[in-house]
Symmetry: C2
Subunit: 310 residues, 2 copies
């Protein structure tokens, strides 16, 4: 594929310009913020680099779209994608970032951070014994790029990591990979659940009563997509101790609406979709690597299967 004219539409267009332009001197670029996008730029562009697509424009001259995020549901979920257009996504350090995010909350829980913070406020000296990572079972939904990095990091410090995928195919660093169809009976033994799945027809509201009812006092971490969770079911599971606490980085509607019950729930920790932020540096590096691979006709590890949706 021959790509010459590249349009970068992003709130961080200035940073990206500085990081990208001089590294790809033979290409023509335009860097603009989202609010300045018009049909003129799109008619000029052969490639579009952005977080999402606005529905009211004609993208028909674009041959390649590169997503600045890891999730591509904003391009594909409940949309018609032109199969002739190449879609790639940013992966880079997301796995490591999400692994450290998840690990931080699990360790904070095991090490009783909240309890000791509360004790300190009351000047109380009472000893509780933290639990060890090695005694925990962690179940990761999704055994792709990101799930596998979680398994790698967690297993390196002695945790038994179980995976769930459609196929149940074994992958490195997982103690065992279960299939989505057969994993329900194993849920009660799990201490922590981490969702990394992309949003597709199959994962929409996957985390509903069927799953939560099998859990026993587990920690639930969602770093996949908010729409994969039935929020009513999660609130009920929190009230009934099937879920002991939830750490949520993603939500069906973002930013989370002000009147949402998650905000005031003492067992919910909210983070504003930051577990896998694309920094300008990483976004630029990943885009440039993809551009080079396209120019040299190489295999693209970050190419999206637009039918599967990830």
């Amino acid at each position: 594929m021959n790509i010459q004219n590249i349009l970068v539409v992003s709130p961080m267009y200035k940073e990206l310009k500085l990081l990208i332009e001089e590294k790809a001197p033979h290409k023509a670029f335009q860097f603009i913020p989202e609010e300045e996008l018009s049909q003129d730029e799109l008619n000029w562009a052969e490639a579009l680099v952005s977080f999402n697509l606005k529905a009211d424009y004609d993208y028909s001259t674009v041959k390649w779209v590169h997503s600045l995020g890891a999730g591509v549901d904003r391009f594909l979920h409940k949309k018609n994608w032109n199969e002739e257009v190449l879609l790639t996504r940013t992966i880079c350090s997301f796995g490591q970032r999400i692994a450290e995010y998840s690990l931080s909350y699990i360790l904070g829980d095991l090490q009783l951070h909240d309890s000791f913070q509360k004790q300190q406020q009351r000047k109380k000296w009472e000893q509780w014994t933290p639990k060890l990572m090695g005694d925990q079972k962690v179940l990761v939904y999704g055994t792709g790029e990101i799930g596998q990095m979680i398994a790698k990091v967690f297993s390196s410090i002695g945790v038994g990591v179980f995976g769930v995928s459609l196929s149940g195919t074994n992958k490195d660093y997982f103690k065992e990979v279960l299939t989505l169809d057969s994993h329900f009976s194993r849920l009660s033994e799990m201490n922590y659940i981490i969702n990394t799945l992309p949003l597709t027809g199959k994962t929409e509201k996957l985390f509903n009563h069927t799953i939560f009812n099998q859990l026993s006092n587990a920690g639930f971490i969602n770093v996949g997509r908010g729409a994969s969770v039935d929020e009513e079911a999660l609130l009920q599971a929190l009230a009934e101790n099937q879920v002991r606490f939830a750490v949520l980085d993603v939500f069906a509607h973002e930013p989370l609406p002000e009147n949402h019950p998650f905000w005031n729930n003492s067992r919910v920790q909210i983070t504003p979709h930051i577990s896998a932020v694309t920094t300008p540096e990483e976004g630029a590096a990943c885009f440039l690597e993809t551009l080079k691979n396209i120019d040299e006709n190489r295999h693209l590890t970050n190419k999206v299967d637009t039918k599967k949706g990830y």
Copy 2:
């Protein structure tokens, strides 16, 4: 050495009795709480298993003392130890425990747990990017059993771990080991400092202005001994941002007195000496292993050099 009569003096004497007695059927045991100790039991005992020694008793018939804790300053620091008495200590899972304790606070800091918790209270959705472990430099004082386990765990997730020891001898998992005498010039580049050193004449008030003045906005974690820190100097370093925050598990006086300024300092997180708790199971297992090694005349990996003090 032939040991027959073993006296176990501990607040957890009941649990230890259940865990130890039937595993060593050829020995004679007494299990008592500290307040029931009298000279009669000591005259009977050839071995004493305890957290500390009361000064007002005659221990002269005892041939072996096994410390239920990892730190043995309560036996040695500013005391005269009879060199003919064998002193062993509990090590077991302490390294792993202290590594996970330290990691939990560093990850909580990098992942901005406090900021996101405060944002949630105000229903605020503002994105901040967590920092990655791999970009951090961590300096561990002490490259023994515990320091080395920290280096092992931290390096397995991509952190560059530096060590400080008297000799500066290189050890596995450390990127570089500095000597206590020459390490000062390297302090400004460190993001986190972890003290694991035992309390000896050389480490008393080691962390004073000389060290703190070289730090630049670092996190300071003390899992060694409280008396190794000049508390006034630490408070000043916190006020002047040389130390950005401190996580303290050990104190010169424990429990920490109610009127101590650490309690109300928002940059200090206090935990009540729990980073390396001896559970009855671990204490029993470590004692039984040591007993077996003594009976079989094997090398003791947990023997204390009573002159060095660790």
